[in-house]
């Protein structure tokens, strides 16, 4: 992180802020999309996050933490956006598995199952999976980005993966309704 740019941005220098945000923005946006699952929601989340980062910069004590600060604000924005829209339990259409399992079809089925399973997860579980397996963050970096202790990150990630496995199993069973669509307990 360019500390001088952070310092300038903290004093209200929008050019410095733009220079800081530009290299981070694409990845932050993809993380947002990975968590919320829809482009429009990701757009709303990252725009809100960037505005919050900009407004909150004067209160950032350690300029070196700018990037993790961005992730923390972003995950909060994603959670807020997700709760606001309350569309997390919408089931995706089941593609069916009766088709002959060629490699291509199997890939499609895997992706479909992952999408269906992933959407069944809570926001918190999606977040730790995305940060760890997509953003390649260590547990310590995730703790900093989410704002919880490292031990909590480890246990949350463990539970998230267990929930994903359970959700994938559940996703293979078509047409779940009502409470069955909620996150499947590991």
């Amino acid at each position: 992180v360019n500390v001088e740019l952070v310092e300038r941005a903290r004093t209200g220098d929008a050019d410095a802020f733009e220079e800081l945000a530009r290299p981070l923005y694409p990845r932050l946006r993809r993380v947002a999309f990975s968590i919320v699952g829809e482009v429009s929601m990701a757009e709303d989340a990252i725009q809100q996050a960037m505005l919050d980062v900009w407004r909150g910069l004067p209160g950032l004590r350690d300029p070196e933490r700018f990037e993790s600060y961005c992730y923390r604000v972003l995950t909060n924005a994603c959670h807020s956006e997700g709760r606001r829209r309350q569309r997390w339990t919408r089931p995706l259409p089941h593609l069916g598995h009766e088709t002959e399992a060629t490699d291509e079809v199997r890939v499609v089925n895997d992706q479909d199952q992952l999408e269906r399973g992933f959407r069944r997860l809570s926001l918190e579980h999606r977040t730790v999976i995305v940060l760890h397996y997509y953003a390649d963050m260590t547990h310590e970096q995730m703790a900093d980005a989410i704002g919880v202790p490292v031990g909590t990150v480890r246990s949350r990630l463990h539970r998230a993966m267990a929930a994903l496995r359970a959700a994938l199993d559940a996703a293979e069973r078509p047409d779940l309704t009502g409470s069955e669509r909620r996150e499947v307990a590991p």
């Binding site: 050019d15 990252i46 505005l51």
Partner: protein, 237 residues
């Protein structure tokens, strides 16, 4: 779970592929930065940078910061802050006698020299070139339109409205013109709307716009229309 490969590899690949479908971020980034620059902090910074000769450093003088905050809080903040005596000494100039324009030092520690203006019940609009147009209000012998250039610290007379007015509303339009509506005339009348074109320095009355309200507000919408509240006790709008 039907993943035949290493499940973690499959998950990583799927997340990568899925994230890639989010598309390009350039347009999103531009829009986000536009929003950032339109926050009060962004607008304040633009003005302060211009006044400091783009040094990009914050003055530590409290009086300066208080004045800067005033710019942001009200749309007419800059003019208001100056009208209230925004200077290191706090001295105020007599009515209609703006101080001699002084170039702004570019040293980061220097206090920007600003002209004092005694004007009230006016509005101010930041024009496309960064200068600030002071519009109407009570200003005694000063013309009804003045322009402040923060890069030079100069205040210049820009002309007159077609009719004097105060407690009006103004809005900068997308084509660079300024629409001025409502308010009170000097005799208590309700002046008609008028357009001011900064490019030509001319004002043009427009009786066709029915916005003769006192103490109105006007906001430019994204589609170019102007939003203003309906008058109280009116059922016709």
């Amino acid at each position: 779970m039907t993943m035949d490969r290493d499940p973690m590899t499959t998950l990583r690949d799927w997340l990568d592929d899925r994230a890639a479908t989010a598309g390009s971020s350039e347009a999103s980034f531009r829009e986000t930065m536009r929003l950032v620059r339109h926050t009060p902090q962004g607008r304040r910074a633009r003005i302060l940078q211009a006044m400091r000769g783009h040094t990009g450093r914050e003055s530590s003088r409290p009086a300066f910061q208080v004045g800067a905050v005033a710019i942001v809080v009200a749309s007419a903040g800059l003019a208001l802050a100056m009208a209230l005596g925004w200077s290191a000494s706090g001295d105020r100039e007599p009515h209609g006698e703006p101080a001699s324009p002084s170039p702004i030092p570019t040293e980061a520690t220097a206090e920007p020299a600003l002209p004092s203006i005694d004007r009230s019940l006016h509005t101010a609009e930041t024009l496309d070139d960064g200068s600030v147009l002071l519009i109407g209000g009570a200003a005694d012998s000063a013309p009804s339109l003045q322009r402040f250039d923060p890069t030079t610290g100069r205040l210049s007379d820009t002309g007159e409205l077609t009719m004097p007015r105060s407690e009006h509303a103004s809005v900068l339009l997308g084509d660079g013109r300024v629409l001025i509506v409502g308010g009170y005339g000097t005799d208590g009348s309700r002046p008609v709307a008028e357009w001011f074109d900064p490019a030509t320095g001319t004002s043009t009355a427009d009786a066709g716009i029915d916005l003769a309200m006192t103490r109105p507000t006007a906001s430019l919408l994204d589609d170019g229309r102007i939003l203003r509240p309906a008058p109280l006790n009116s059922s016709s709008r």
